[in-house]
Symmetry: none
Subunit: 204 residues, 4 copies
DNA sequence: GATGAATGAGCGTTCATTCAT
DNA sequence: CATGAATGAACGCTCATTCAT
């Protein structure tokens, strides 16, 4: 009986280790030796499971993205309004619930700007986030009988939430300002949208 | 007559050089040698004018921030609505008008998360941005006879604009979506605010 | 019935693999992993059949040498003059007929200078080559009734042929210069040799 | 007064160090740290004066070649026969007079086969050696009133001498066999050449 | 002030070798 | 026998920083 492959668990170990080290020190400062130590492995093993350091970062990006999207998908089954609220909430809670994750994302974005391999995966993650927002927003609009530009609305919503996360406390708003503003934005978009099957709101 | 001090121009030269190099390669990859070369100076000079590399980054952060704030201040004299529109516009045009600057900011944010000296200056820059938004928003509200929570509104506005910049085309909205949504948000906030000296919102 | 030993074919496989890889990349750059892959075997197997990398090189040296000597022995049955001509021709054709082999030899000679274990085997190969030349030269001399110093003559002949191979096209002579010169040397040596049982050279 | 450039002496120091280390251990095994230590310099300095290890090898190849050719040029002023004898003698004495140099050449040839940058310089050195032999041989032929193919003759002479050097004692000839054979080859070539202005030797 | 030589720690990566399975 | 995971030393190279000139 062949020994079971060590590839999957070892790769996961190393990805977790990079996540921990990178959140604290950034990608460049996270040395292979440190990552290996954080994973409890010998330094040489890192290159046994990943061809180079950058591909480990790509794997982490994909992994963090997949986890994020999976979390958002828990909201899929909710009713339209609750679903969108939950989406916003799940995003905004990252900085409290998973500060390491947020720290990683900041580093990943900086690296994505210069490393195509990272940029591609980061772009796919954002596309996934955007897709969730578009469909949730469209569902909500449909439930209220409104026709909105869900692409534009979702982009703005994502930008607001993402900006609030990225700026963190520097933005300076009162607690919960971002969720409130996000919802104001949603309501504003819906209010401004015409009823496809009747007179417009402005005329109502 | 003593030779006039070269300190200020030399420091400015080096700050500009770091800006150019960092926008392309990131902070860690911008070597002292390369920065000096981009500035047309000998490598050893860098440490004459800055104690170390990090302090050069701090100086660049402060310089970029000051330039940004100065640009925003050109809008100060405008009428309230035009002023706020201009503020939003000036922010969102950074990615087209000064792509290098945007690239630098992404790097600075990532470094700010791990280097207190950078974080402090970055925080001050954001505070400055926030202040401009708060006062412009308050002025607009006053001109319309509305009482709004300008702190929260400005934070949300800043987050939206900043998120749109950071996400860039990944956000996926149609061209100009961010400016439109930012203005929707402003209008939404104003519409939701009570008239302190008149009838309630519901009747407005 | 016990499974027949795999030792000999496996070793041969690995020796062939080292030959292929080394001809292209040199000995140091030929990694165990690459050699194993070229042989279609698992990396760990290399150390089952050879205690270390150097002993694999020694085995290759011995194997290449044995093949070379075996090829020369095909000339043994020829008449004296044809035999020596064939010897020279077989040597000089290595760079066209087996460029990989020539590439290996250059690497082996460099390693032989620093690795006693390789040097010994390389010395034995040269001794074998020399022996063939000595006996062929002696046979030719005998057939012509001349007494020559076959040791010195064979050494010079070997040096010429070997130098021509090693220098390759760098030497810059016209095509076939080496074979022609080698034969001139042979004739010169024979012409200069006394007839032990006849009139002196001057009268020959 | 500017400090005199350290480039030339430091580069020379490092080239000498590589020569010493490489003669004993070969190129791959000569680590940058070891080379630096042999030169009495800090390891980091090696890359201050040479962009990489290979360019140091190229510099050594050029330097060894230049020294070799310069030594041969000391024979230029001699009378034709003495000049050619001296050329042969200078070559063959390398293994006794400068064993390190010979060791280096063996390594360089092996590297030249796989590193184009080394191959080019090595080719130029051989071309220089060849040129000296061609002109010396032509001068000798002229002084004797013979017309020979100096290109072919020089190539063969070079091959013989070079092969004898490369094989070293493995060739197995008696002491001095190579010089004697080289001279036999020269005399043979001259004897076989026609007198351009008179009846051929064979008919004389 | 200005230069670039000098330092040595540390980087990502490769590798021969060992060994549990 | 066979596998490939595991080890850790060593490699070429980069770099911020220092300092004699």
């Amino acid at each position: 009986m062949p020994r079971p492959s060590q590839v999957a668990p070892r790769r996961a170990q190393l990805i977790r280790a990079l996540e921990r080290v990178m959140a604290q020190q950034g990608y460049e400062a996270a040395s292979i030796r440190e990552i290996a130590q954080a994973a409890g492995l010998a330094p040489g093993l890192v290159h046994h499971y990943f061809p180079d350091k950058e591909s480990l970062l790509v794997a982490l990006t994909a992994d963090l993205g997949a986890r994020w999207l999976a979390r958002l998908d828990e909201a899929e089954a909710l009713a339209p309004e609750a679903r969108l609220r939950r989406l916003i909430e799940l995003h905004l809670s990252v900085d409290e619930a998973r500060p390491e994750e947020l720290g990683c994302w900041l580093q990943i974005i900086a690296e994505a700007a210069r490393r195509p391999s990272v940029g591609v995966v980061w772009g796919e993650v954002v596309a996934g986030l955007r897709g969730r927002h578009v469909s949730a927003l469209a569902a909500l609009a449909a439930s209220r009988g409104r026709a909105i530009d869900a692409e534009a609305g979702a982009a703005a919503l994502l930008a607001l939430v993402y900006g609030a996360l990225t700026l963190g406390p520097s933005a300076g708003g009162p607690p919960g300002y971002a969720a409130a503003a996000a919802w104001s934005l949603v309501e504003g978009l819906l209010a401004a949208a015409p009823r496809p099957d009747g007179p417009s709101q402005a005329a109502g």
